[in-house]
Symmetry: C2
Subunit: 184 residues, 2 copies
C-alpha cells in the first residue's frame, strides 16, 4: 500500500472533489480544512511534482491566454491510494494539539491569581473570536454535506474551549481552580 505524505492527502482529496490547479487547492483548503489541516504553496507545488513522478496525478498544460496554468487530474493509481488511506490509514490516526494558552495556565504558579485571570480572559476572547469567524463562514452557506459537518465541528470545538476558559475564570475567582483535588 502506497504511503501518502500528509500534504498528499489533502491534494488528492481536493483534486478528486474537483480542484484543478495548485492555486485552486490552496484557495479551497484555506476556507475549509485550514483549521485542522493546512497547506501552503511551499508544500503543494513540490508535492504535486512528487505525485506526478509517482504516477498518482497527471498534469496537463491549460494556459488561460498568456497565463501559464497546469491542471492536474488524479489517476487510477492516485484514486486507489486515496481510497486506501481514507479507509485504512497506515499507522495510528495523526492527532496534534498545541496550545500556548494552556501552557501558560499550566505554569500558573509562577504568576499571581490576578495575572492568571487576565490570561484566562484573553484566551477565552481569542477562542470566542475564532468561533465567530467560523460562524461567518457557515452563515455564508457555502459548504454542505461532510465539509459542513467538519465546519460545524470547528465551531463547536472553539465554543467548547471558550466555555472551558469561562468556567476556569469562574473557578479561579471562587478559589477552587489552583486547589483542585483529583475528583473521584
Amino acid at each position: 500500500m502506497i504511503k501518502l505524505t500528509p500534504t498528499a492527502r489533502v491534494i488528492l482529496g481536493f483534486l478528486q472533489l474537483g480542484a484543478r490547479t495548485g492555486y485552486d487547492i490552496k484557495q479551497q483548503a484555506d476556507v475549509s480544512t485550514r483549521f485542522f489541516w493546512g497547506a501552503s504553496y511551499g508544500q503543494i507545488y513540490p508535492e504535486l511534482r512528487r505525485l506526478t513522478d509517482a504516477g498518482l496525478v497527471r498534469p496537463t498544460s491549460q494556459p488561460r491566454g498568456g497565463l501559464a496554468r497546469t491542471e492536474y487530474t488524479i489517476t487510477a493509481r492516485g484514486r486507489k491510494a486515496l481510497h486506501d488511506w481514507l479507509r485504512k490509514p497506515p499507522g495510528p490516526l495523526l492527532f496534534e494539539y498545541r496550545d500556548e494558552a494552556l501552557l501558560r495556565l499550566f505554569f500558573g504558579d509562577l504568576l499571581s491569581p490576578e495575572e492568571v485571570a487576565v490570561n484566562l480572559r484573553q484566551a477565552r476572547e481569542e477562542f470566542e473570536h475564532d468561533a465567530a469567524r467560523f460562524r461567518e463562514l457557515q452563515a455564508q452557506g457555502l459548504p454542505s454535506g461532510y465539509p459542513a459537518a467538519a465546519l460545524r465541528y470547528g465551531i463547536e470545538l472553539m465554543e467548547w474551549i471558550a466555555a472551558w476558559y469561562r468556567d476556569a475564570e469562574r473557578r479561579l475567582a471562587a478559589g477552587d481552580l489552583a486547589e483542585d483535588q483529583a475528583s473521584s
Copy 2:
C-alpha cells in the same frame, strides 16, 4: 523583550518549577504537558546550550558517582524572560490543531456511508481510549493546582471529542449528517 523559542518556554518553566537536568525536564513533560506541548531530547539539549549562551540558564556539573550530570538553574535574566512571556507573549497565542480523523470525515463523499460510519467509530474509540489514559494519570493523584487543571482540560477535551463523534455516528445513521443544512 527576549523572544523565547517554543521549547525554551517549557524548559524555563520546568526549571523554575524545580526540574534540574535535561533528562528531568523530559520525564516531567512526558507525564504532564505532553499532550498539548511536547519536548524531545533532540530539542531539549541543543536548546539548553543556546539558553546557556544567552545567559538565561546556568549549568553546573553535578556528577552522580561516575555518571556525568549537568544541573541547570534559571538565572535572573531567564526568570524575567519567562515571566514576560507568561504575561504578554509576543504575537498571538500559538494554537495548532491537526486531526486526521476529521480530514477523513471531510472527504466522506468519496466513501460509502457504511465506510464513513466505520471511520467515525474508530475515531471515537481512539479518543475514548486517550481520555481513559488521562483519567488514569489523574487517578494516580500526582498533580495538584494548575497542572491538575491542565490535565482536567485534557480529559474533558478528549471526552468532548469522543462525544462529538458519537453524535456524528447517530446523525449519520439518522441521515442528517451528510445532508446538513447551515442551521440559522
